[in-house]
Symmetry: C2
Subunit: 241 residues, 2 copies
Amino acid sequence: MDIEPLHRRIASDIERRIASGEWRPGFRIPTEAELMAEYGCARMTVSRAMTDLSARGLVVRRRRAGTVVAHPPVHSSALVAIPDIQSEIEGRGLAYSHQLLLRIVRPSRADEDGMGARLIELETLHLADAMPFTLERRLISLTTAPEAEHADFTAAPPGGWLLAHMPWTEAEHRISAVGADGETATRLGLSDGTPCLRLERRTWRDGLAVTWAWQTFPGAAYDLVARFSPTQSPMKTPIKE
Amino acid sequence: MDIEPLHRRIASDIERRIASGEWRPGFRIPTEAELMAEYGCARMTVSRAMTDLSARGLVVRRRRAGTVVAHPPVHSSALVAIPDIQSEIEGRGLAYSHQLLLRIVRPSRADEDGMGARLIELETLHLADAMPFTLERRLISLTTAPEAEHADFTAAPPGGWLLAHMPWTEAEHRISAVGADGETATRLGLSDGTPCLRLERRTWRDGLAVTWAWQTFPGAAYDLVARFSPTQSPMKTPIKE
DNA sequence: GGCAGTCTAATGTCTAGACATTATTGCGCG
DNA sequence: CGCGCAATAATGTCTAGACATTAGACTGCC
């Protein structure tokens, strides 16, 4: 058993009282001076505990007014974590592999706004135990990521290559449900119109587009799952049987 | 302009160098003693900056070994926020309304494991400008939330009522793609088999199940969207045109 | 009664130290 | 050469103060 630092103990004492409902939103927490006396420690120690709680959004601190239990956010938007395909597959104990189906370098079209003048278009099929798992269509801007032109996407899938070579500063995800269209259905071994989960992901680096990807998952075989508590980010890896 | 505290300035200096790629993952950051000299401040101040960065996952600190730029997390690399239906609709400038289609109190079935002995089953249709937006089927455990038996779910939708009356401590989300089946298709005004986004949400309070809900969105009309940067949580509300 | 200015209670930052903890490094010994 | 132990370099925690900043509370004046 390692001993818990005092500041953490103070923080979790308070967190427990908030979680249990003993201290409801709006309740004014004892002042630092009072907690100092209660725990017999310096104010910096209490202050650190409160700063931590405040950073996690459990309490709101205001000078002179004191510290109160925060009201839960109104737009209590819950979260779902989107795992990396390879670790997702391997996390299920299956063998991961991928096939590069298409690789062309071409000028960008008008509807590919912001992707730079030249880009690579890729199509990759990701397999779990040799069964189609997801079909990925991806554009990579050669303006932002010129090294991509000489990358070997048969060795590493484009998602992994980008993760290692092109850190992004902004991202957007879009999840929707679509029916598998002709080519996609064929590649995934589905009949036409089968409901699929479509995950669209765009990233930018300092305002310049890096990549734009669409991944299509057979609806029956794939769920996005997240399990979490309100004060923590979703950390547990999704598991599906 | 309010002046920036020194510890924040140190932290953002370092953050900038990480974001710019100048300091790549694995790079060893100057020691606290070095930063102390560089900024001419006490070690506590540097330490606080590093503690903040560490809490946000940008760096990894290890005694004796020093502080290095963290490798971007392989798992859970991305998130999507799931907004509250009502604010989602109103955020698009549409009028929100809802209809209670079904409300029965009954004993739980075997496949409704963990939901307590008695529960309420509800079906609610959420509308945006009087057009069907999502169909929600929900179970609420009367063991955990007995007050729900006397709640008026025609006035407030069950999701909103629960948010206000039954705080949860644990939640699970599952997103999948399904084809609209007979009754669901009818209620949403779709033809059979139309791809729909299915959002399943379960919550618990101290280990006891509170609610279990399934929401079905027409695939063509609804996306989950999140836009964010790697160091921050997704805060911006998704917008779809 | 109301308003302006002042007082003051609370948090926010920072310092210069102290000692604890941990893991690496390197040395000496077999 | 390799093993174990000691030295040491780095972070982790904590203290007892100091001064800054903010905003609620009060007071007195009109």
